[in-house]
Symmetry: C2
Subunit: 456 residues, 2 copies
């Protein structure tokens, strides 16, 4: 960098912004595996990938999530003087996207979208300001089949990741609307639901205070809301109580009927009963939900909150399109899930994707090392060649620290004898293997060592 | 969205910002395949994934790329009054990252990074302001092995994507430095190299004008520079001429010696001679390169420019760390490559990842349709269930438009008879297959139809 030494005589402190973080290979390898699992499951249901810009016109984003997402929005003027913002979720961009491309896409339209979103959150709550969302959504149908499938996808996904103890909590916003209508609190619904959404975080008393202060509800009304949110028992039992508490409210009754169908369909499709729990306290914090809402709780780590959440938003696209385009979907909380898997001991840290390291110490044989590596890769192995002709001991130290499993050692003697040493880096054991034309014996020996490693 | 109808009485026009674009499934499915191929090749050489924030402190980014990247930077003040910018490449964040985490990472450190970058470019040149980079880099070694491996990775990657006609153009910035030193133009090097980098875009005459205006060089000096850049012939031939033209310049001679080793190593590792071409005009536009530079040209579409570029930057990390951490790497131009593959007819558009569609038209059998889909997925198939119980004809129309290949049709008669119809959507042919416990006959028939489709 010839021209910058005078500009940058002082070193710049390498640092990340508050609320942002780097992902080192140890975490990123696991993150990529999770993403690949999500892609595989989403695709298996016919969800197709899309992508949208990180930056959108400000008026596309403002007023769509909640007062909180508006406040947290990263916004600025671009080079052309346009007011722009960084997306805070993938659902609002999806609504804009389907409104813009509806004719080309055809309906129903099922998409997944894996992308970064930004929210200027208060970092004191341990929240990050940049995170990855893995969303899947179905647009263009009000059919309960799409709601049922949302649960099926989450169920398949968590099993594929390796979880057996998790619960999908479901509810319908319309039964909450019905209750509030019956309590003459219909107009204060958004604020009350935002307060209710905080229940697991701040507890009953604080939710009660917040409902009173934001809606002017009486203690008696608050008790009714919290009694409803606290309904317990079998799904059938809770459904019966809901039906009676929202009786007379048209919207409440349509929500309750939808829940009947929804729960029956999920069970008929083969999801074990204990994995789906009706929970009338589930409201979700975003204003755009209009029907089914759901969260996913890890039974062994309920305190970390929902790791996959979503719901139905039948009016969001109306803001951008004349056409009626209802939608439903959910989002996998990837980073929270990774933290949970770590806490539950479900992850084995890996620092390199290459099982095999070839040390480089006979300078004149560089071409041979590189060719051997190339041919082992052709047989499907991941192989790293150490770049510096340092002492073998140093290179093996590197291999151990990095987590390679096998070293293929070729010194002057080995080249002369037409063999190589296949070294199990975990045990230190070494076998001499002939360097034949097909390399089949080396590949076999490497596979044997990797197999031993896997079983330990 | 109960609270936004008054705020948003008027519909918001759905649109993307100038220079930004949406990716529809047809393009995105191909893009994901390219990403997966890149990941596979990078991993097979031991490159491990990392990720860094999209936003960095402004002083991390400014003055690192070129005057142009500084001008194009998206910058603003965040909620805390910090000056921040959106990353314009993945190399400067990598330099910051390795300076910050060097002790944890251990050296040499090989990483790949697939991430979005932003540049407020002039869109009239058909450029986008947001694009995805797929970088791989080796940090912490000056060994020529890392330079050689950079070519090997690009070579493997392009073959894996399906290209056979491509050329990797290589050069070393130090031979250009040597030439300019010998012409007493050493101090004007960055400006002259930036001008030279534009050669394929603006042509010889304009480059000559720009060199004169930016450096005050004489016509004679410019002729020498352009003669050097225009050297043609075999690599051996060009190398000989380079050696003579930079004789006497220490930096030039070290560059020429490095090119000798580099080219010999690439050939020794098994890359066909015709795929690697020494080209003294290659300079790259970014100021941080200090040695090897390379570009990749598609022989059948040279006019689109380089589709994979990179080089060595041995002083970039110095700006952030006391430790000397040289680096080399390259970046795959994913979107340009996609456009090229489209132009060359190498892509078959696909609009859904699911081969199989199950129409839904017997309302009472929803559970059966969903269970059948679940069990077919277990056997590895991707299966979509149509969400609305519309007429069969409508659902088959959808399947054809979307590009599903097989429909599994189950009406009242089929349920009664314990069979299903497996329909080849391309030919219209249908076979009745028994719905056995194991589904093995259905899976076989689907595989048979998919096989026929693939071979057409």
């Amino acid at each position: 960098m010839p021209n910058s030494s005078d500009q940058h005589g002082d070193r710049i402190q390498p640092r990340t912004l508050k609320g942002f973080r780097d992902y080192l290979p140890e975490v990123m390898i696991l993150r990529e595996r999770l993403i690949e699992t999500a892609q595989k499951i989403y695709r298996s249901y016919g969800f197709a990938p899309i992508d949208t810009p990180a930056l959108e016109y400000l008026d596309i984003l403002l007023g769509k999530g909640s007062e909180e997402t508006d406040k947290q929005l990263y916004q600025f003027e671009d080079h052309g003087g346009r007011s722009v913002g960084l997306r805070f979720d993938l659902t609002v961009p999806l609504a804009r996207f389907v409104a813009q491309h509806a004719a080309t896409l055809g309906m129903p339209f099922k998409r997944y979208h894996i992308g970064t979103v930004w929210r200027g959150e208060n970092t004191q709550r341990g929240r990050y300001r940049e995170f990855l969302q893995c969303d899947f959504d179905t647009i263009g149908t009000e059919s309960i089949v799409a709601d049922i499938e949302t649960v099926l996808v989450i169920h398949d996904l968590f099993r594929a990741i390796g979880f057996s103890r998790f619960t999908i909590l479901v509810n319908d916003r319309r039964v909450l609307s019905g209750l509030l209508q019956n309590l003459a609190l219909g107009r204060q619904e958004p604020a009350i639901l935002r307060a209710l959404d905080k229940l697991p975080k701040i507890g009953l008393d604080h939710v009660a205070d917040e409902i009173i202060s934001c809606s002017g509800a009486s203690m008696k009304q608050v008790d009714r809301i919290l009694a409803f949110a606290g309904l317990e028992g079998s799904n059938r039992n809770i459904l019966e109580k809901i039906h009676s508490m929202i009786a007379g409210s048209a919207i409440g009754e349509s929500g309750a009927r939808s829940l009947d169908q929804f729960l029956a369909g999920v069970i008929a499709a083969g999801v074990p009963t204990e994995r789906v729990q009706l929970d009338p306290a589930i409201a979700r914090g975003l204003d755009y939900y209009t029907g089914t809402v759901l969260e996913t709780r890890l039974d062994d780590l309920p305190e970390i909150g929902s790791v996959a959440s979503g719901g139905r938003y039948d009016s969001l696209v109306d803001l951008f399109a004349k056409q009626k385009l209802p939608g439903i979907g959910a989002s996998l909380g990837l980073d929270r899930l990774l933290a949970a898997m770590d806490a539950l001991g479900m992850t084995q840290p890996v620092r390199t994707p290459a099982d095999v390291l070839i040390p480089y110490f006979e300078r004149d044989h560089l071409g041979d090392y590189l060719q051997l590596a190339a041919r082992l890769r052709e047989s499907g192995l991941a192989v790293e060649v150490f770049p510096d002709a340092k002492k073998l001991g140093k290179q093996l130290q590197y291999a151990n620290r990095r987590g390679h499993r096998v070293a293929i050692i070729l010194g002057a003697n080995e080249f002369a004898g037409g063999i190589c040493q296949v070294k199990n880096l975990a045990s230190g054991e070494t076998s001499a293997v002939p360097l034949t034309e097909t390399l089949s014996e080396i590949v076999l020996e490497i596979s044997r060592v990797l197999e031993i490693n896997r079983n330990q």
